[in-house]
């Protein structure tokens, strides 16, 4: 037997890739079995079958063989997709994953799959047969992309693209029992027109549509600058419109090149683009021949220009750069001190120049190493479509997950930490946010709920949003629940604004779910979500409209290691406030102090800004108390957390600086208001403020 050990790691990588394709496509299959998806999924199963057999993993080969047969039957229109079949396919897929992981650990797998294969084959024979009229894949109509456009239509499409518009094929299917098809067709055309879509061509043409000379479906070539999904949703609102498929239009000249990338249908494109986007995955593989028809056929035969680097090595590099950043600041400071002592001396000048150069190089080095550590957030998002599907099925909900911005990059350490909170929030959305199809219909909403998960860069942080169109949260009920659970006295709860009431869900021990479900609602949820996010210097905010839906916004720093901070002095010691939470700085006279109860505040542009004396917070209530009797002006740093603002009173403002975040030893315990420490240019240690803690402190006092 040949020694295959050196191929194992390549096999594993390829298997992981094919498993990912399978997972993604089985989901698509359930939503809309287009011929492209079916072909791709069949090829993925076929490739995996071939390579696992070649490597001697027979069980894996057998399982993928059964899957391949299922996809083949689907592809040929012999059977139709059913939930049962999809569940079996997912079971098989999970087993494949487990086998792959076992091989990765021990070089072999002993997971049995006989029963699975049997189940799958049974599901296959029991699957509804695909009579030509019943299956959309076996539709007698030609695929829209095969339609021949007339000269002027082609011209119009090309001009639209030149003008920055996008052109799509919309395939609209009406319900079988539709009585006045021409009216529906007219409504479709009007809806497209009203939503910013220009119809360039219709098959059959508009006259035929008008005379009801079509079966149940028709194709429209549409140019638009709006998201195609938006148009599609608008069409689905029209009654008796059963299904709308959207495919990008391609000039037939381009189409002749074998397009193996799947054409995105319904879901947002980025998730499907990774085959060509990620050069690391296109390493030349000995399995290439079995992969001839594989998804990566678009990879050019040239050796890819990337190397794999151990993550630990990147961590070390970043630590070293962190040291360098500290020393750069130190050298610059020494330069200034020398200049002050020896005035203009040739040596001093020379030192200053060198220091400036080192500074620039360090900045660049830092930037590049941070970039090297970035990963697209897709690594986290990947598993969500499957998870949401399974959850929706479990709770009897119909949920569509729309993901945007998977290509957004952030530091891998942030990626690791953000994964769990996102999972938890998505679960909550499916479980508590989205209503059952019956409830939704009764409320005049589409049966299917939508959860939108998006990521994007904004200034120097990442914004992740989770938005659902479910039942939303009622501030009054949240106040009520908080009082009932003894988290807040009634009068304090009533003083909260609606916005603040929504934030009650982040309190430990808070949960409004009427019954405890297996997935969420144990009352230990959102507080952990928030503390996880805060741990990486992020903030989470919630907004909700009863009946309309809920939106969570998470802001995360791009990196955990190096940030810009405002240095301030409190009681003779230097503290660093992350610049991401600083809104402005003020110099105020103690005479302008006001007191709300015993709490100090000032009036800032018509709004009451509560003040916190850092000296009082850190060094006990006797010292640093704010009084109007003080002579000296006070310095206030206004920091924001979501909508809320607070002014931190400090002794002096020092200035902005880049700081390297270091953690405090656990021996010091959890210190409210301090998230870590950093080393300053003069070698001294400064503590980094945790702004979120200070806000919590205020709420606690207010309560």
């Amino acid at each position: 037997m040949m020694d295959t050990s050196e191929y194992v790691s390549l096999f594993l990588e390829e298997a992981a890739e094919q498993i990912h394709v399978l997972e993604r496509d089985i989901l698509l299959l359930e939503q809309s079995p287009s011929p492209e998806v079916l072909n791709e999924i069949f090829r993925a199963a076929h490739t995996l079958k071939g390579s696992s057999r070649a490597m001697g993993f027979t069980a894996m080969g057998e399982l993928t063989h059964a899957m391949e047969d299922a996809f083949d039957a689907l592809r040929k229109g012999e059977i139709r997709v059913s939930t049962e079949l999809v569940n079996r396919l997912f079971e098989a897929l999970d087993t494949l994953k487990a086998m792959r992981d076992q091989i990765a650990e021990g070089g072999s797998t002993d997971i049995a799959c006989d029963e699975l294969v049997r189940n799958l084959r049974n599901a296959l024979s029991e699957a509804p047969t695909g009579e030509a009229a019943a299956s959309p894949t076996a539709d007698s109509q030609p695929a829209p992309s095969a339609r021949d456009l007339q000269e002027h239509q082609l011209e119009a499409a090309l001009t639209a693209i030149d003008n920055g518009l996008r052109v799509y094929w919309f395939t609209v299917r009406l319900a079988e029992e539709t009585l006045m098809k021409s009216v529906r067709a007219l409504m479709v055309l009007q809806s497209l027109d009203a939503n910013g879509g220009a119809v360039l061509a219709a098959f059959p043409d508009e006259e035929a549509l008008d005379n009801e000379q079509f079966d149940l479906s028709f194709d429209l070539l549409v140019a638009t600058d709006k998201p195609e999904e938006q148009l599609r949703q608008a069409l689905l609102q029209i009654s008796e419109v059963r299904e709308v498929q959207v495919q990008p239009w391609q000039h037939s000249a381009e189409q002749r090149t074998p397009s193996v990338e799947p054409v995105p249908v319904h879901t947002t494109p980025p998730i499907l683009e990774q085959g060509e986007e990620r050069p690391t995955q296109t390493a030349v593989s000995p399995m290439a021949e079995t992969n001839k028809a594989g998804v990566r056929a678009s990879a050019s035969p040239t050796v890819s220009q990337t190397v794999r680097v151990d993550v630990a090595r990147l961590d070390t590099l970043l630590n070293l750069v962190g040291e360098l950043v500290i020393d750069r600041t130190r050298v610059a400071q020494l330069g200034r001190e020398f200049e002050a002592r020896f005035q203009r001396d040739e040596l001093v000048d020379s030192l200053q120049e060198t220091a400036a150069h080192i500074g620039r190089i360090t900045d660049e080095l830092q930037e590049h190493i941070m970039k090297a550590r970035m990963l697209p957030i897709e690594h986290v998002f990947n598993r969500f479509p499957r998870m949401v599907r399974d959850l929706a099925q479990k709770f009897g909900k119909e949920v569509r997950l729309v993901m945007e911005g998977q290509e957004t990059e952030l530091d891998r350490s942030v990626i690791e930490i953000i994964s769990d909170p996102l999972i938890h929030m998505l679960r909550n959305s499916v479980d508590h946010g989205i209503e059952t199809p019956q409830e939704r219909e009764a409320a005049g909403k589409p049966r299917q709920g939508t959860i939108r998960l998006s990521a994007r860069h904004e200034e120097n942080y990442i914004l992740i949003e989770i938005e659902d169109d479910g039942k939303g949260m009622d501030p009054a009920r949240l106040r009520e629940a908080a009082v009932r659970k003894g988290l807040l006295p009634r009068d304090a709860a009533e003083r909260l604004s609606d916005r603040e009431a929504l934030n009650l869900i982040f309190l430990p021990g808070f949960s409004t779910a009427k019954e405890v479900t297996e997935v969420s609602g144990r009352g230990v949820g959102m507080d952990i979500v928030r503390s996880n996010i805060q741990r990486v210097g992020g903030i989470v905010d919630v907004d909700s409209t009863p009946g309309k839906g809920t939106r969570f916004a998470i802001r995360l720093p791009l990196t955990l290691a190096i940030i810009r901070a405002l240095l301030v002095r409190v009681a003779g010691q230097v503290y660093a406030i992350p610049l991401s939470s600083v809104l402005e700085t003020l110099k105020i006279h103690p005479q302008t102090l006001q007191f709300v109860g015993k709490r100090p505040a000032i009036l800032l542009r018509g709004r009451t800004l509560p003040l916190v004396s850092l000296q009082a917070h850190f060094y006990g209530s006797e010292t640093g108390l704010l009084t109007t009797a003080q002579e000296e002006p006070m310095f206030v740093v206004v920091v924001g957390l979501g909508e809320r603002q607070v002014g931190l009173v400090v002794s002096h403002l020092i200035g902005e600086q880049e700081i390297v975040i270091k953690s405090l030893s656990r021996h010091l315990g959890e210190i409210s208001g301090v998230s870590g420490a950093t080393i300053l240019g003069d070698g001294r240690v400064a503590l980094i403020l945790e702004v979120a803690d200070l806000f919590q402190n205020i709420s606690a006092c207010a309560a």
Binding site: I326, Q573, K662, S665, I671, V674, I679
Partner: protein, 149 residues
């Protein structure tokens, strides 16, 4: 020199230091380094016996006032004061002592259990009593001192 670093099985090598007029000792295997006093950044709201943190060549190391930890009277720092940096469980922690005197070899058979100290506040943290040249040496249980933090 080579013989000096050798420790026979029946001997324990310790670093002896002064604390509130007593001689204490720490097993040498825990000791990372001994440094002069340097500026300590106070960490508010930390346990009372934690003095703060120092910058040890780019690392942030917490520093404990050992006298306060053991419930002994504390007094002013002098030029003799030192920070002994020990490593326990992969983490470094500094301990302020009044003065470091010497490295001692304690024969195992001259170390007694700390029964006669029972009742004093620091007794919990003493693992044994040794005698060197008629001088009493209290062996500190470093894991306990650091671990219960």
């Amino acid at each position: 020199m080579s013989t000096a670093t050798m420790t026979s099985a029946a001997e324990r090598q310790v670093v002896a230091f002064r604390l509130a007029n007593e001689t204490y000792a720490i097993d040498i295997s825990y000791i990372h380094e001994i440094i002069r006093m340097k500026e300590i950044t106070f960490v508010p709201r930390a346990p009372h016996y934690m003095r703060g943190v120092i910058n040890l060549r780019g690392r942030i190391v917490p520093v404990m006032d050992l006298s306060a930890r053991l419930g002994l009277p504390t007094h002013e720092e002098t030029s003799q004061s030192r920070i002994i940096v020990v490593e326990v469980g992969g983490e470094s922690i500094g301990m302020i002592v009044d003065a470091v005197s010497e490295v001692l070899r304690l024969p195992e058979d001259q170390i007694e259990p700390p029964t006669q100290m029972a009742g004093t506040e620091s007794a919990d943290y003493i693992s044994g009593l040794g005698k060197v040249n008629d001088q009493l040496v209290l062996l500190l249980d470093v894991e306990k001192v650091v671990g219960n933090v």
